[in-house]
């Protein structure tokens, strides 16, 4: 069966570190970074890039529209 591969691109400066994307991800792809952005928020980052299937859950729940998602079927 073909596997879906996804990439999440996070606007880390816009991110407020609310963690809702981390909770929404069914595969624990995302986590809050140890470092902070210019506003002082621990922004969300991708920690398990290879696991992401591009399901968009993180982006859909993001209240600030920080996440862009790409998805491609693995041949």
């Amino acid at each position: 069966m073909a596997k879906m591969r996804g990439v999440t691109v996070i606007d880390t400066e816009r991110c407020k570190g609310c963690r809702l994307c981390v909770v929404a991800c069914p595969l624990n792809v995302l986590a809050l970074a140890k470092s902070v952005n210019r506003k002082g928020y621990n922004y969300a980052e991708t920690v398990l890039a290879d696991t992401c299937t591009g399901c968009t859950s993180c982006a859909v729940v993001c209240p600030d529209g920080c996440i862009t998602v790409y998805r491609k079927k693995e041949e």
Binding site: K16, C18, L20, V60, P63, Y70
Partner: protein, 258 residues
């Protein structure tokens, strides 16, 4: 597969809606308002109404909604948004006209404007963000604050003897002849957000089809006001808000009323 190979325009599956501009929103981290703003932006664009929409923003946390969604806006006095929207729609019948209001604005100071706009069957949509608290002013009791819930002005919990009871606006709205669609939605999970978006789309379409007034209540969190993390606020909402503010369509006469 290489990341660059995946990150191609043809593989794009989600991005911030175009109508939602790049201005950083003033909302607290995890606030439901941001999701509702995204849904409104998406639905307007999907209906192709970017150039024919007038939004009316309230007084409350969403007072600056006009800074984030790139449509024409009018900023109303506290509670008066449905009066503004009534006039705009009657004077420009081919425009999509909606108000965006919180519980203090809509269900307290603006009760008369809300009830009468809905009861006249104005062809507008009222988007009602209910988080059971006054967010902007620092977490005071709202007309929708649950029994026993603690806020800055009911620090020992809402007590019926002192404060009366929480108001179910959507149920009142559903009893009015002028409404064609009244629904209660939430935006805390992917499933809920997809449902809420469909509800918003239906309401906006009914407005354009002249079927009457729609009220889309978004049962929401105010994690700052509730003094919970966004994640815990969602859980608290599921456990405490949903049993009182039941989700789902309360009234939908739009489909059979031509």
């Amino acid at each position: 597969m290489d990341i660059k190979e995946i990150m191609q325009p043809e593989n794009l599956v989600y991005k911030k809606p175009e109508l939602l501009n790049d201005t950083a929103m003033h909302y607290c981290p995890g606030c439901s308002h941001g999701v509702v703003h995204k849904l409104i932006s998406e639905v307007i664009a999907e209906m192709g109404m970017e150039n024919k929409t007038v939004g009316v923003s309230p007084v409350g946390c969403a007072v600056f909604a006009y800074k984030y969604i790139d449509i024409d806006w009018e900023e109303a006095a506290h509670g008066r948004a449905p009066a503004l929207a009534s006039a705009v729609k009657r004077l420009w019948p081919d425009r999509l006209v909606f108000t965006y209001q919180g519980d203090g604005d809509l269900a307290c100071i603006g009760t008369a404007e809300t009830i009468h706009a809905l009861n006249r069957g104005e062809n507008i949509t009222i988007v009602f963000v209910n988080n059971a608290i006054y967010g902007m002013t620092g977490g005071q009791m709202a007309p929708t604050t649950l029994m026993g819930m603690k806020t800055a002005t009911c620090p020992y919990g809402r007590d019926a003897k002192l404060h009366g009871y929480p108001l179910k606006v959507a149920d009142i709205a559903a009893s009015l002849e002028g409404t064609c669609y009244v629904t209660r939605q939430s935006v805390h999970t992917v499933g809920a957000i997809n449902k809420a978006k469909r509800a918003l789309r239906k309401a906006f379409e009914y407005s354009m089809q002249g079927k009457g007034s729609s009220l889309v209540e978004m049962v929401s969190t105010c994690n700052s006001g509730w003094k919970l993390s966004p994640e815990k606020a969602n859980k608290w909402m599921e456990e405490n808000m949903f049993p009182f503010y039941n989700l789902g369509d309360i009234k939908d006469t739009g489909a059979n009323n031509q």
